[in-house]
């Protein structure tokens, strides 16, 4: 009985925090998504499913989904792939280990807004770095960010920034592999490539699953980089659900529609994370 009292006591702060800042806002957002709520006015009127009806017929929502999947594929291949490769390579080095680990981690410490501004300057037409380099080599200035390229150009800095983060997670996972396994395998004449494929990767499978889930859920949280570099344009071509929701709420001041987008985002995120977990988690064998 006494232990239960302490159980509730210690759980209370976290419970209150989650209820106040997560559960309550979530239910309020669900409520707002069924209302017509403009200009953050204190008055809302019940609008039934009209916000969801608009959402279904809104072509920008489809573009946002497409862009989220493009970004997911990009970060999956480059963030997980490159960071795993780098972690395997760096774990083999002894001299530069600490230096390389620090260097790859540095982009994480820079604010996404600063990185976004930096890349905006790189892609700029009039005074952009890329055009400057092009002109040095006798080329002509290009409009880099257009309807077709925008989503790929904003994905590049996102991939670059988080490689170091997953790299450190992989390195930590690899440090937990007992040294004896690797040593005995080497005695059996295994090559470094075979060691990576048959020993390292299978033994950090749990870490890989966690990283993949983090990467996928992270894609729903991307906002600042896209907002700073393209603002979701041109012609909504780089819009993500997060930027479109922000735009609906804080640019168009349509709280009802923004809430409907937020609910779709939450539902889609939960669904995708559950599917990923189901696919990647090892099946129990008897």
């Amino acid at each position: 009985m006494k232990s239960k009292k302490y159980f509730y006591l210690f759980l209370a702060p976290a419970g209150v925090f989650i209820l106040t800042f997560l559960i309550y806002p979530l239910f309020r957002t669900i409520y707002y998504s069924f209302t017509s709520w403009k200009n953050f006015s204190p008055k809302q009127s019940f609008a039934g499913l009209s916000n969801y009806n608009r959402l279904i017929h809104d072509p920008v929502i489809l573009v946002s989904f497409r862009n989220t999947f493009i970004m997911m594929a990009g970060v999956f291949l480059f963030q997980v792939g490159v960071s795993l490769l780098l972690a395997i390579l760096v774990s083999k080095t002894k001299k530069m280990f600490k230096f390389l680990r620090t260097v790859y981690f540095i982009p994480i410490l820079i604010s996404a807004t600063a990185i976004g501004l930096m890349f905006r300057l790189i892609y700029g037409y009039e005074y952009g770095l890329l055009n400057l380099i092009f002109q040095w080599f006798g080329g002509e200035k290009q409009v880099w960010i257009n309807e077709k390229t925008s989503i790929f150009l904003v994905t590049i800095p996102i991939m670059w920034q988080y490689v170091g983060f997953y790299f450190v997670i992989f390195l930590t996972g690899m440090s937990k592999i007992p040294g004896e396994i690797s040593e005995s395998a080497k005695l059996d004449g295994i090559s470094s490539f075979q060691e990576a494929i048959y020993i390292t990767i299978p033994m950090i499978r749990d870490v890989i699953v966690s990283v993949v889930i983090l990467v996928i859920s992270g894609c729903f949280k991307v906002f600042d980089m896209v907002y700073v570099i393209t603002g979701g344009g041109p012609m909504n071509s780089s819009e993500l659900l997060s930027t479109y929701m922000y735009s609906a709420a804080f640019r168009n001041y349509n709280g009802g529609y923004a809430s409907a987008i937020a609910i779709v985002m939450v539902a889609f995120g939960v669904l995708l994370s559950a599917i990923t977990r189901r696919i990647l988690e090892p099946k129990e064998t008897y």
Partner: protein
């Protein structure tokens, strides 16, 4: 013995704590009564606004001492790269230096550029029912939000109570801050005007007629494009000012009030026509408002549609001029109609008004002729009778001529309609129209529907 000693120590400790608590309460009680005395005094003063005001300040400064103590939260858009930001800061500092007991917490946020932090700040403060004591916010359609919140006071009684102060507030300008039932929900402040800026040097250099007619504009585009000069420094990411001017040039003052009517379509089609002719910068789809100002100021663009807030940054260049956008072919606009108005004003919160007169005094200071002269020396037109700033530049002279030539003044229509409807048409609607992905009529129908929701 040891036990007795422990008991004695415990009793002594309890006594010491009790005395400490009692003395603490006594101290608090004293100060509390002092505060309540002050509060009742300020309440008396608040209930009798006719005893306060500039006249009272001048005649009996010792009586207003109680109003000279407090903290005021103020939110304006005089922040970031806004042209009024430096002089606004000076004005605040001067006020605090003259009233050492008053602290002004300036929470101003920028409204121009890619991020409209100002609107977001005000909207969230009002939604959270923690409005600033004094805010400079938009009127027109956007006044719905503060009015619906019922967090702000009707300023009319305060104006009536202090005729010396209110006599300086221009009646014509005050109308912009009045509701249909006669409530003065805000005191309009600095007026704006919008028009077409052009760089006379570039027109002279290529021997082109100045852009006083649509034919002249069309004639100069090819020459500028051939010579790597951007005809119009315009961003299709933020094309509102250009769209407003084209609509006015097409439908005139009366037609502008038929929000999202199909009669606006030729104005939107003109944007596509200009885009097809290469009249806009190559990266017009992603340029920001700041980018286009730099492009025009650097002499890389011949014309720019913008407002009075950009005058300060351009007036040192003697080749800059400002005129009204000429009428489109068959259009009803032209030099007799100017896009001008008082789109924002001061709102005072109920809480601040009930608390004391500190906020009201600061509002009177901000709307005094002396402060107004300092503010409009930077740019804009005044809603308060004040002296004109001296030493006007050629750009300011041409802007003044533009306003003097006009016989009709209309406000920008973006503040008269539902914001979502306006942005649907301009951002990114114009991009879809310019690239031929949709028609002006289709976009207008969408915006009409959003405006009527």
């Amino acid at each position: 013995m040891k036990k007795e000693m422990k008991k004695f120590l415990a009793a002594a400790l309890i006594c010491a704590m009790s005395i400490g608590l009692l003395s603490g309460c006594a101290g608090k009680s004293d100060s509390g009564s002092g505060e309540s005395a002050d509060a009742s005094k300020t309440q008396e003063e608040a209930s009798a606004p006719e005893q306060t005001g500039s006249a009272a300040e001048q005649q009996a400064p010792e009586e207003t001492q109680a109003d000279d103590e407090g903290t005021i939260r103020v939110v304006t858009f005089f922040a970031g790269s806004d042209q009024w930001a430096p002089v606004y800061k000076e004005v605040i500092d001067d006020y605090m230096a003259a009233h050492p007991g008053v602290t002004i917490v300036d929470e101003s946020q920028p409204t121009s550029g890619t991020q409209d932090l100002f609107r977001t700040k005000i909207q969230s403060d009002v939604a959270a029912k923690t409005p600033p004591d004094l805010m400079l916010y938009y009127n027109g359609e956007e006044s719905k939000m503060p009015l619906d919140s019922e967090l702000f006071v009707d300023l009319k009684p305060y104006m009536d109570a202090d005729p010396q102060w209110s006599a300086n507030l221009k009646e014509g300008a005050m109308e912009a801050g009045r509701s249909e039932d006669g409530m003065q929900y805000c005191i309009p402040y600095i007026g704006y005007f919008e028009g077409m800026f052009y760089n006379k040097e570039l027109f002279d250099k290529y021997d082109l007629a100045e852009p006083t007619s649509w034919e002249n504009i069309e004639a100069c585009i090819d020459t500028f494009v051939e010579n790597d000069i951007v005809p119009f420094a315009t961003s299709l990411m933020k094309p509102s000012y250009m769209v407003e001017q084209l609509i006015l040039a097409q439908v005139g003052a009366e037609g502008q009030k038929d929000y999202f009517d199909d009669s606006w379509a030729p104005a939107l089609a003109a944007m596509k026509d200009l885009y097809d002719k290469g009249a806009f910068p190559a990266d017009c789809m992603t340029m920001t408002e700041d980018d286009i100002r730099v492009l025009f100021a650097d002499g890389k663009a011949a014309m720019m549609i913008n407002g009075s807030w950009t005058v300060a940054g351009l007036k040192d260049n003697e080749n800059m001029r400002m005129i009204t956008m000429p009428a489109l072919p068959g259009g009803k606009g032209g030099s007799d109609v100017a896009l001008s108005g008082f789109g924002s004003g001061w709102y005072m919160s109920k809480e601040a008004a009930e608390r004391d007169d500190v906020t009201l005094h600061f509002l009177k200071y901000m709307t005094s002729p002396e402060v107004m002269t300092r503010m409009i020396a930077v740019g804009g037109s005044s809603a308060i009778t004040c002296d004109a700033p001296e030493g006007a530049s050629p750009l300011e002279v041409s802007a003044n001529e533009m306003l003097n030539t006009a016989t009709k003044f209309v406000p920008a229509c973006d503040s008269q309609v539902v914001r979502e409807a306006w942005l649907n048409m301009t951002e990114p609607g114009i991009q879809y129209i310019a690239t031929g992905q949709t028609s002006p009529e289709e976009i207008l129908a969408q915006s009409r529907s959003l405006n009527e929701e």
